[in-house]
Amino acid sequence: MKLNRIRAIAVKEALQIWRDPRSLMIALAMPFMQMCLLGYGVSVDIKHIPVCVWDQQANQDSQDLLKRFQSSQYFQVVGAFDNARAVTAAIDDGRCRVALVIPPDFSARLGDSSRSAVQALIDATDDNTANIAIGYAQAIVSAYSADAWSEALSRRGVPALAQPVALESRVWFNEALESRNFIVPGIVAIVMALVGAQLTSLTISREWERGTMELLVSTPVTPLELMIGKLAPYFGVGMLDAFFCLGLAVFWFTVPFRGALSTLLFATALFLVVVLGIGYLLSVLIRSQLGASQIALLVTLLPTTMLSGYAFPIDQMPGVIQAITYLVHSRYYVTVLKAIFLKGAGVTEIAFPLAAMVVYAGLVTYLAARAFRKTVD
């Protein structure tokens, strides 16, 4: 291996990146767009569920209950009706997901817990939202009913009772319970996986298409020198992108960052080698630029979004799928990012995913160097 040759290739490749607006666009604009799209677009928080009400009682008590719904951040009262048909229509055409029906004898039944009831009609096309809506509605109604109960007791001169059991919860790592804090570090991984493989997926196929490969193959350059020389400038571009994405995560999306910067950079550099290596491998195997870039998109996008655990928790997946996720490179980087960002994990806590990435990087670069044949047939 000669340093001279690696340097010559790296310089050439850097000049070509600089003079190819398409590569530069991919390299710099794509991460920004993806961070914004995914950072804002992907949220599993359920807030401001639209609610319609049919308040047949319409007095102080019923208004009191509705006010609790209105003031909660989970619900938003969007309409009031006075007949069943209008309520049904509102659910049918999607104006509201939950309809609350308060019976005409709501106040009269209040003192009698066995008989008082409020009806909630729920649009369960999205079962997850429906489940969560039921939970929130139940919580609001129980709080209301506990207050109503103790008020009724105190009116009769009985002092307010403390609840027999109360849950005292302390939320760790993502104190604000913002799904964004959980998701954004994973998005950094997705963006890096996509952009990284795209960057290098063109580098060998471009030489084939422009007819420069034949000349390159006739020179004494070795496959390993070629790979290192070609990946080096893209590694620089990739690290720039990584700084950019991580910066957006911390300063724009205000995800708490608790780990050490050095751990983060080490893990990021490692992941970058993996994704650049995958793009390079595809570029070697597929001799057309379009083909290589399409395949790179396919093999990185789907597994990374579905199986990396960035938004959909891996431990909730069926066993077989969980086993498959161990093959997905971004799974390890997502784990590492979340641990460093939210838990402030050090190298020892994330030793397994780091080791997995080292193995991955070694395997991919070995295969890529092996796959490159210095013949044209």
Binding site: K2, N4, R5, R7, A8, I9, V11, K12, L15, Q16, R19, D20, R210, G211, T212, E214, L215, L216, V217, S218, T219, P220, V221, T222, K374, T375, V376, D377
Partner: protein
């Protein structure tokens, strides 16, 4: 030990059922310019690519600078310069960037690189245009720059695969001057072309057709000895009848149409020039003019292949 710096023995290359190169053998001496002449698709490029280690031979052996190309292609690559018919420098890089790149991957020492680049730019006539993007250069310049890149590391052997195709005649002439200069310095050059006139600049010519080496020798040898006779031009009014009649006369080896006339291969051109007009008149073709002509390489090619090249050779 043979002094051939390139030795090719029974080289065969098949692509599936198609035999592109069919048992070719030849030697090239140090400092020699060997021309490959043949129509497109004859197998010239395939032979050169095998000699550069770009393609693996199906069978046979090729030695370049004493190294078996199939066994140790990497060592061969340090000994050769290669320039292909498809212009293959980086058009989005400048002249100097291309030269630095190839200097780097050919492993030219940094202390020597400046001097070598200066030599190459001057040779290519590109001094003062070092910062021009290659895509903005005209064909002749690109081609001389490609040659410059291929010789930065002073290779003892140079393979040029149709280096002058698509280049204007003045640039072609200039390019051949460069090739002769390098050969004079002891560089061995194997150059393919489909320009007949160009092939005559080579020391020796290998005629290649349909994957086979059909003749090998100096341009003079090919035009006279390999032809197997002397050539006369027959101009007459009823050319088609003459074409049918002539082969029956003793002393006539072959007859081939040539434009509105005939090229006739005879054992004695002077006798043919004297006797043929009367003989033809006796066969109902009066007023024929017969004159001795210098054979061209194309005549040899046509005679040896038995028919005109499937893709016409260019005699520009």
């Amino acid at each position: 030990m043979n002094d051939g710096i390139i030795r090719v023995e029974q080289l065969v290359k098949r692509f599936g059922a198609f035999t592109a190169v069919d048992g070719v053998s030849f030697d090239v001496k140090r400092g020699e310019i060997m021309g490959f002449l043949g129509p497109n698709g004859a197998g010239k490029s395939t032979i050169i690519r095998m000699l550069c280690g770009l393609l693996r031979p199906t069978s046979g052996r090729a030695l370049v600078a004493g190294i078996d190309v199939a066994r140790d292609p990497e060592r061969v690559r340090g000994q050769i310069g290669y320039m292909s018919q498809k212009f293959s420098l980086y058009s989005d890089l400048t002249v100097i960037e291309n030269l630095r790149f190839f200097g780097g991957i050919y492993g030219v020492k940094r202390s020597e690189l400046g001097e070598r680049i200066r030599f190459a730019t001057e040779m290519a006539g590109l001094a003062g245009r070092e910062t021009a993007l290659v895509s903005t250069l005209a064909g002749g310049w690109k081609q001389r720059l490609a040659l410059g890149c291929a010789i930065l590391h002073r290779p003892p052997v140079l393979f040029l695969d149709e280096p002058t195709s698509g280049v204007d005649p003045v640039s072609r002439r200039r390019f051949w001057d460069l090739i002769h200069d390098m050969a004079a310095d002891g560089v061995t050059i194997l150059v393919s072309t489909h320009y007949m006139d160009e092939a005559e600049y080579a020391n020796r010519i290998a005629l290649i057709s349909q994957g086979k080496l059909i003749a090998l020798g100096s341009p003079d040898h090919l035009k006279h000895r390999a032809l197997g006779g002397q050539l006369v031009l027959v101009e007459a009014t009823r050319i088609a009848e003459a074409l049918d009649t002539l082969p029956s006369r003793p002393g006539i080896i072959d007859v081939a149409p040539f434009g509105n006339a005939l090229h006739v291969l005879v054992d004695d051109a002077d006798r043919a020039a004297r006797e043929l007009p009367a003989w033809l008149a006796g066969h109902g073709i009066p007023g024929a003019r017969v004159s001795r002509i210098e054979p061209s390489l194309e005549d040899t090619f046509v005679e040896l292949v038995g028919h005109r090249a499937p893709v016409p050779l260019v005699s520009a």
